[in-house]
Symmetry: C2
DNA sequence: TCTTGCAGGATTGTTCAACAATCCCTACGC
DNA sequence: GCGTAGGGATTGTTGAACAATCCTGCAAGA
């Protein structure tokens, strides 16, 4: 729908490959400028942990820092609200949400459903998958391994995220991509509560590689089964770390 | 301060049941008034077909009709954009999206994944399901049957939608509810392209009842299988009607 | 001592008017 | 006929202003 050209004359443009890349570049430049740019900055601040869960975002403060008007800033807030990175409280302001164990379970349930289905569905359309389709996954695996060698564990987490985002991307579903983006953004919110990212991310570097190799070998059914268990284990890891944190700092004030 | 008072800053109140219901009521009253009220009106206009796909929503026009400021109207636009009921085109305005067959396939793929998983997952937590949990589904089934008797086919479609929304609700997942709301809203967008709603909705009245009875009998596995085929058939029906329409009116202007 | 009520200040919700940037359409010149 | 410039309309963004609401602290009363 978004790619529908202005001139409707060529109704069925059999969108070629290069057209898609050009369209992507244009879309990147289009960037609703002020509001989206402000949202980008805030998004990074939140996902990188500069803004901790529970923090309030003052409007007047941020208008000065971001150099945008209050109205534009509010539109940026709306954008991030619908990504799950902020929550509105009427007449009180916007806050970075504080997720609890129930949210972890909810998020992982959806991840399992979506990701496992994508992998399992690859079997049906195996022939039509163009070569090099798995390249982004391979890059992510190597990026994670490199970051781990350099002891940069947050970077490992990021590469891990991108691996899963690219995994979902194999389904060619715009809506799945959007949903996954939202889910992973919320998940990143959880990571900052965890003190030891190494124990959290380390086991999954090798598992990501294993998953990638199974996909490359077209063993989709086994890949789906592995991924299912993978996500169950990851969920348990986060829940454990989360409960430790909860016990350690019940009174933050 | 620091008087060991009774207040304790109430950090971890083990939220009791009645507290939750009160909180729900409060949330309902909160309604960000102007922007959300405007969005409600627009949402109805779109889902009921007053605003056809492809139509542009002029800002100045709507500020007069809805009696809100341009900024507030834009916030309403944002709300509906993230529900999938409107699309922004930079510097051109907001439009009612025109979905194509590719979108139908995408939407139904997600519906199948989510709904079937919910039904299948009910087996695991069957004991903890409180009595009367299926009542909303039952109401929707009867509402559809009543509307069909009165030849009110759009109402049948609405009841059908609510049936599936309530079905997803059985999973107790806030994020699944939100996703489903968005998916069904987009689906409603498609219905207005279809000339004969009767043929589209009629077969599923009985199937909804059958599904409900399977759930009531706790035959979750069979219900999941039925639902899967159900959604495949529904997808084919929409695709067929959609192609007819596409052939009949390629040049709308 | 504890609760209740009430100002005060601060923050958000909403409106308005204005200007800049961009798009669409038309007319002009070659 | 075609590319290009201009005009008009629409959107993007800003800043200030006012109303509504929330939070804090203090004082009055039980």
């Amino acid at each position: 729908m978004s790619t529908g050209g202005a001139e409707d004359t060529g109704s069925d443009v059999g969108r070629q490959a290069w057209l898609r890349t050009v369209a992507a570049d244009v879309a990147r430049l289009d960037r609703s400028s002020s509001a989206e740019r402000a949202a980008d900055i805030l998004r990074r601040s939140i996902t990188e942990g500069a803004l901790p869960p529970g923090a309030q975002l003052s409007e007047v403060e941020l208008t000065e820092v971001l150099e945008v008007s209050r109205n534009t800033l509010r539109e940026a807030f709306r954008l991030l609200t619908h990504e799950g990175l902020l929550v509105y409280k009427l007449h009180r302001g916007v806050f970075v949400p504080e997720l609890d164990e129930h949210d972890v379970i909810d998020l992982y349930r959806l991840r399992r459903v979506l990701e496992v289905d994508v992998v399992r569905g690859l079997a049906d359309r195996d022939p039509e998958l163009p070569a090099g389709r798995l390249d982004p996954l391979h890059d992510d695996v190597e990026a994670a391994e490199a970051a781990a060698s350099a002891d940069r564990w947050p970077a490992v987490g990021t590469a891990n995220m991108r691996f899963h985002q690219h995994l979902i991307g194999l389904a060619d579903s715009a809506r799945m991509d959007a949903m996954t983006g939202r889910l992973l953004a919320e998940l990143r919110l959880l990571f900052h509560v965890i003190a030891t990212p190494r124990e959290l991310h380390e086991p999954y570097i090798a598992r990501n590689r294993g998953l990638f190799e199974l996909l490359e070998a077209r063993k989709y059914e086994q890949a789906a089964a592995d991924l299912h268990q993978y996500l169950l284990d990851s969920e348990q890891g986060i829940l454990a770390a989360f409960r430790d944190k909860g016990l350690r700092a019940p009174r933050t004030t």
